[in-house]
């Protein structure tokens, strides 16, 4: 169950913080500067507030009590001071409003940008990444892990900046008032910080654990819920529950430990703070009474400062658990975003062209319906245009998904434009693998694949795939209307084009029978349709893109033979003069191909037309007559 890849979180907390701040800096630099400015204002005013109490006691209350004659003048002076201070307070309130309001936008904006970047990055990952990770595990990045950042950016971050400003201001004020007491406070607070550090480390370990457990549980739920019907059919509910409980208990254990340590943070910081507060009062009292070093007002002020100094430390401690959680989640997210993307060194692109009468080719910015490969030659600094035909050649191609195990051995084949090439062979013979190589989902180990004479490694992947239409056995329809799903093949297709494609795929009839026809909304991969209907839609989707090369990988396996025949007729008309690769088990599907390749264990063992192969009385013949199986 435990995928070792899940455990990856190579980033140190500092690196994670840097990345988060990098986002803030990149997207909201100006606003963030305003925020900092506003926070500093509110922090300074807040410190002034504490100092003011001391000033009030020392400069106004005590003199008035000692000398009642000055009461009247001092009182009116005090009123003015109170007005000034009140004005400062209002300024601070405005500053606070500004920064909380701005932070609301920044934090949600950053979250959005991180999510978007994550998704965009994911689109660029190679297929091999998706083959090696559970879907739920990846989904967890978007929910559980991004969620941890929410609290951190929107609440913890401004509060912590605020606290730091407060701490600094109060520290300055304390040293100004009395350096001896200030040092006492400093020593005591460094104890708090040390203690907190220990707790944070402990807690961080378990929070990391929690996020990993959560991802595993998400992976489990996603996989098992997707197969829930199988669970029902096999009465496997108890088993699934047991497996779930194991993961769930593990998660609970990690979460409890993480929360335990982070829950100690607040009482620890608060009470150590109180302790410092008491000690300052006591030491102050001793110094005052024994040595008469300063006035009562100073002690009162100092006690208040200690409180004001330690309070924000307590608040930081309270936020720390969110910070730790965010670092755990953020670490996973950024590690995911550091996954290597699909490399593309291709430079040959597909362009629209006009073919002049003399046969020369000219690039056109408009859609002309004619395509060519634009090939730039570096050494001669020239550009050549090669018309897109759909000519595919495999030269001595070897391939394996892992280095240890080669799946395809020395494949040589060619498909001329307009040919229909079929692959037959037992399951696992390597048929699908061949198509994975043509569109470069995977790269070959050795040999060459040429497309219209160009090595496909030189072709930009996007352009390569644009020129290939692929229909897979697993249809994967998307949430949206039937029309949307067909249009997936070609974004700017008109309704008419989509309907024409549907007719071609013989899907029009059943679509019209649906409650809302082409506007029927499909969810959950189109579960409301039968498997065969979904395949018809997938064919329509590929047909609308009208590609020069089409790959049909078991594309009609769930369609009844009668319908399949109708579909084939339509496809043959569409694919006239174009190349088609067909993979099928049903031999009737491939019979009318121009060439049939029989694959066995990654090697082509026979090739020819249906009639040739039958006459040859080899493996194909035996397969066809049902005497022999390829395994």
């Amino acid at each position: 169950m435990t995928n070792p890849n899940n455990r990856k979180n190579n980033l140190t907390p500092i690196q994670v913080l840097k990345r988060i701040f990098g986002y803030i800096w990149r997207d909201y630099k100006k606003i963030f500067i305003v925020v900092i400015f506003a926070i500093v204002i509110s922090g300074v005013v807040s410190a002034i507030n504490t100092i003011f109490i001391q000033v009030l006691i020392d400069n106004y209350i005590n003199p008035m009590m000692k000398d009642p004659t000055i009461i009247d003048t001092t009182m009116s002076e005090l009123n003015i001071v109170l007005l000034v201070v009140g004005g400062l307070y209002i300024l601070a309130v405005i500053a606070i409003y500004i920064y909380t309001r701005l932070m609301a936008v920044i934090s949600q904006g950053i979250l959005k940008n991180i999510r978007d970047d994550m998704f965009n990055h994911m689109q660029k990952l190679p297929i091999s990444y998706f083959d090696g990770h559970t879907h739920g595990d990846i989904m967890s990045y978007y929910t559980n892990d991004t969620d941890t950042l929410r609290q951190f950016i929107s609440m913890s971050l401004p509060q912590m900046i605020n606290c730091i400003v407060l701490i600094v201001c109060n520290l300055i004020a304390m040293f100004y008032l009395n350096w001896i007491l200030a040092i006492v406070v400093l020593v005591l607070t460094s104890l708090i910080v040390l203690f907190t550090r220990v707790l944070v480390k402990r807690s961080a370990k378990y929070f990391k654990e929690t996020q990993i457990c959560l991802a595993e549980e998400t992976g489990f739920i996603e996989e098992y819920t997707d197969g829930q019907k199988v669970i029902k059919v096999f009465n496997h509910e108890r088993k699934a529950e047991q497996a779930f409980d194991v993961l769930n208990n593990e998660l609970c254990k990690a979460a409890t430990s993480a929360n335990k340590y982070s829950n100690i943070l607040m009482p620890a910081a608060n009470n150590l703070g109180n302790l410092a507060y008491i000690l300052v009062a006591l030491i102050g009292a001793i110094l005052l009474i024994q040595f008469n070093l300063f006035e009562v007002g100073t002690i009162v002020a100092f006690v208040n400062f200690t409180k004001a100094f330690i309070n924000p430390i307590g608040q930081v401690a309270q936020q720390l658990s969110f910070v730790i959680l965010a670092l755990a989640g953020g670490g996973r997210i950024f590690t995911f975003m550091d996954e290597k993307v699909e490399e593309d060194e291709g430079y040959v692109t597909l362009v629209n062209v006009n073919v002049k009468e003399d046969g020369t080719i000219e690039e056109s910015p408009k859609r002309t319906g004619k395509w060519a490969w634009k090939h730039y030659h570096k050494d001669t600094n020239t550009v050549t245009y090669i018309p897109l035909k759909g000519d595919i050649v495999f030269e001595d191609v070897c391939f394996g998904y892992t280095k240890e195990k080669e799946i395809l051995h020395h494949i040589n084949l060619y498909a001329r434009p307009g040919q229909k090439v079929a692959f037959v062979g037992a399951t696992g013979a390597g048929k699908t693998t061949i198509t994975n190589l043509i569109n470069r989902f995977y790269d070959i180990n050795s040999g060459k694949i040429r497309y219209d004479g160009i090595n496909i490694e030189k072709i930009k992947k996007e352009d390569l795939r644009q020129s290939l239409g692929i229909v897979l056995q697993d249809t994967n329809l998307f949430t949206g209307t039937v029309m949307d799903n067909i249009r997936y093949g070609k974004e700017d297709a008109t309704d008419e084009e989509c309907i024409a494609a549907a007719k071609l795929a013989n899907a029009d009839d059943f679509i019209r029978m649906l409650p809302d026809g082409y506007n029927t909304f499909l969810t959950n991969g189109g579960t409301s349709l039968s498997q065969g209907q979904r395949q018809l839609l997938a064919i329509a989707r590929a047909a609308v893109s009208n590609p020069p090369v089409m790959i049909l990988d078991e594309a009609t396996s769930s369609i009844d033979t009668r319908t399949e025949r109708l579909v084939q007729k339509g496809m043959d008309a569409l694919m006239e003069n174009r190349t088609v690769f067909v993979i099928a088990h049903r031999l009737s599907t491939v019979q009318n191909s121009d060439v049939i390749m029989v694959l066995d264990h990654g090697t082509i063992i026979e090739r020819g037309t249906h009639d040739q192969l039958i006459a040859q009385k080899g493996v194909y013949y035996q397969l066809y007559t049902g005497v022999f199986e390829l395994e």
Partner: protein, 581 residues
């Protein structure tokens, strides 16, 4: 209220910790609140009166109080985290167990992505809220009351002012939260859409890449993430008023306190400097508790939306349940459909199956043939009572399927679904789904029957080969055969293959059928297929067309009289003649 009750049910074994947390917090908060009170005595009577002994005694007293506070605080923190995480664990457990009772219809209703968010994110939200609730539910009100009472004791004028500010501030905070709530609630639901987009993208990543649709997918995602952004930032923009409003309140209290305090001290002598400084502490206490309460409230509001979604799943009742005193044994594999009609929606919606009648004996092979969308799958789904009929009755072994205990019924009817799933784990793990106590020999036997043994033996790890999620590392045909073997291990009375050999080559397909005939002759077999030769030796062939049985009979009979059958037969055999015979 029903929501709270339902969720509270999951506290169960963590009730003790929950209550203890509240009790401990109660003590903690009382002592904590007394600290500034004792402090003011220390300043007024210790320091001001130059009484060092009193100072020391009071300090000791304060230290003891702090230590008690610390211990209770830590203890409460421990209890609270155990209780909150425990509740979440139970909730997740309950949700998942509930999910297992769902019928196919229930499963169709909830999307996978939504179920995933409910069990993970939503439960986490509840956990946060519960943790805060039990730690602060008692703490905040007590602190608030204590702070106010102590203020009143010190000076009733200031007390009244504090009370007034607290009430006004409380009301404002409450209104803000109420106003922000709808945004957060919608935001939480939008998470489902976000998850949905991600999940679909992951499942269809090959399609996305083949069609170069990365950009489209990105803009799809962007739409949802923008929606989340605007909902949450609008909500938070409203919440953004909370902190300046609270700060305004405390500053107002400060100015007023300084103004009146000075007058009380200097002019009336009714207050001391020590009292003034403790009044400042109380002002902070009032403010902090109000902030705390509003924070808890926000969390509860966010969690409320989540709780609702959890409740929705917990309250969803399966429409297919065993009767009381059900029949627990399936005695024979006879199957009968008696005027069966069926529709997926409610009564009156378009019938997917219309008046189906047929009867087969134990050991019969039934072939089902029909065009794409002719309801073949719907028909066989009724046999194992995966859905309930709308009209008529389905009988297995002469007894209506509704009278059986569901588990017993499904134990004896093996369905190999069309859209089948292998789970991540070894081949053996997957096979054991059919029979968890299966011996190696039994597994090999079943795999031989399903013609899977040979290819399994070619894997380096043989039966211990690890299957990736969704079986991506085996081919379609291999997957289908593993699924058949898995079903065979149940040793069923009725075996249903829903187009389960579509990716298997003809030869293997016929070997499988031959093995069935020889090795499990007493099992009734339903075979839904596209290939005529998969079913032509069946005892009974049903030809389906648009939800009705167009005709039934043996191969020879149908070939003679049924148009659809003839057409299918000739398209499949037009080029090769009748080589298969």
């Amino acid at each position: 209220m029903d929501i709270v009750r339902t969720i509270a049910k999951s506290i169960r074994d963590y009730k003790k910790q929950s209550i203890l947390t509240i009790v401990i917090v109660f003590f903690e908060v009382i002592i904590e609140s007394l600290v500034p009170f004792v402090m003011s005595i220390l300043i007024d009577y210790g320091i001001r009166e130059n009484n060092l002994t009193l100072c020391i005694w009071l300090s000791v007293c304060l230290v003891v109080m702090t230590v008690i506070c610390f211990i209770t605080g830590v203890e409460a923190g421990f209890m609270a985290s155990t209780a909150a995480c425990g509740l979440t664990k139970n909730l997740r457990h309950d949700l998942y167990y509930k999910l297992q009772t769902y019928s196919f219809k229930n499963i169709d209703k909830f999307q996978t992505a939504s179920i995933v968010t409910r069990i993970t994110t939503d439960c986490t939200n509840v956990q946060h809220a519960y943790l805060m609730l039990i730690r602060t539910a008692i703490r905040a009100p007590i602190m608030l009351v204590l702070a106010l009472v102590l203020t009143f004791i010190s000076n009733w004028v200031i007390g009244l002012i504090y009370l007034g500010v607290a009430i006004v501030l409380g009301i404002i905070l409450f209104l803000l939260i109420i106003k922000a709530h709808p945004y957060f609630e919608k935001g939480v639901y939008t998470y489902d859409d976000l998850n949905g987009v991600v999940q679909e993208n992951l499942q269809g990543i090959r399609v996305v890449k083949s069609f170069n649709k990365e950009e489209v997918e990105m803009s799809k995602f962007d739409k949802v993430s923008t929606k989340i952004f605007s909902l949450f930032s609008n909500g938070e923009k409203i919440s953004a008023f909370e902190s300046p409003v609270s700060q305004l309140a405390i500053y107002m209290m400060m100015v007023v306190l300084c103004y009146f305090g000075t007058r009380f001290i200097v002019l009336e002598g009714s207050m001391t400097v020590g009292v003034l400084s403790s009044l400042i502490s109380y002002a902070w206490m009032v403010l902090n508790t109000l902030m705390l309460i509003s924070m808890v409230f926000v969390n509860i509001i966010i969690a409320a939306s989540s709780a609702e979604r959890i409740y929705e799943m917990l309250k969803e009742e399966s429409d297919i349940v065993s009767k009381p005193n059900p029949v627990v044994e399936v005695t024979s594999g006879d199957v009968e459909f008696n005027h069966v009609s069926f529709s997926y929606g409610k009564q009156g919606e378009k019938l997917v199956l219309d008046d189906i009648n047929f009867k087969v004996k134990e050991g019969d092979v039934v072939g089902i043939l029909g065009g794409t969308g002719s309801s073949k799958t719907s028909l066989i789904n009724l046999i194992a009572r995966l859905y309930d009929v709308s009209k008529g009755e389905v009988k297995v072994g002469g007894i209506n399927v509704k009278d059986y205990d569901l588990k017993s019924l499904r134990d004896k009817i093996a369905v190999v679904l069309q859209k089948n799933t292998l789970f991540s784990g070894t081949i053996k793990d997957n096979l054991r789904w059919g029979n968890e106590n299966a011996t190696d020999e039994e597994m090999i036997e079943a795999c031989k029957l399903a013609q899977a043994h040979d290819f399994i033996m070619q894997f380096p790890d043989k039966y211990d080969t690890y299957i990736e999620q969704g079986g991506t590392n085996v081919s379609g045909g291999q997957k289908q055969r593993l699924c058949i073997a898995r079903a065979l291990l149940k040793n069923p009375k009725v075996l249903i293959l829903d187009d389960s050999t579509s990716a298997v080559d003809t030869k293997t397909d016929s070997l499988i059928r031959e093995a069935f005939r020889e090795k499990i002759p007493n099992t009734t077999k339903f075979i839904v297929a596209q290939r005529i030769n998969s079913i032509q030796d069946a005892d009974l062939i049903l030809v389906m067309n648009a939800g009705k049985i167009d005709d039934m009979g043996t191969h020879e009979e149908l070939l003679k009289r049924n148009k659809i059958y003839q057409e299918v037969y000739y398209t499949q055999n037009s080029q090769g003649g009748s080589i298969d015979d």
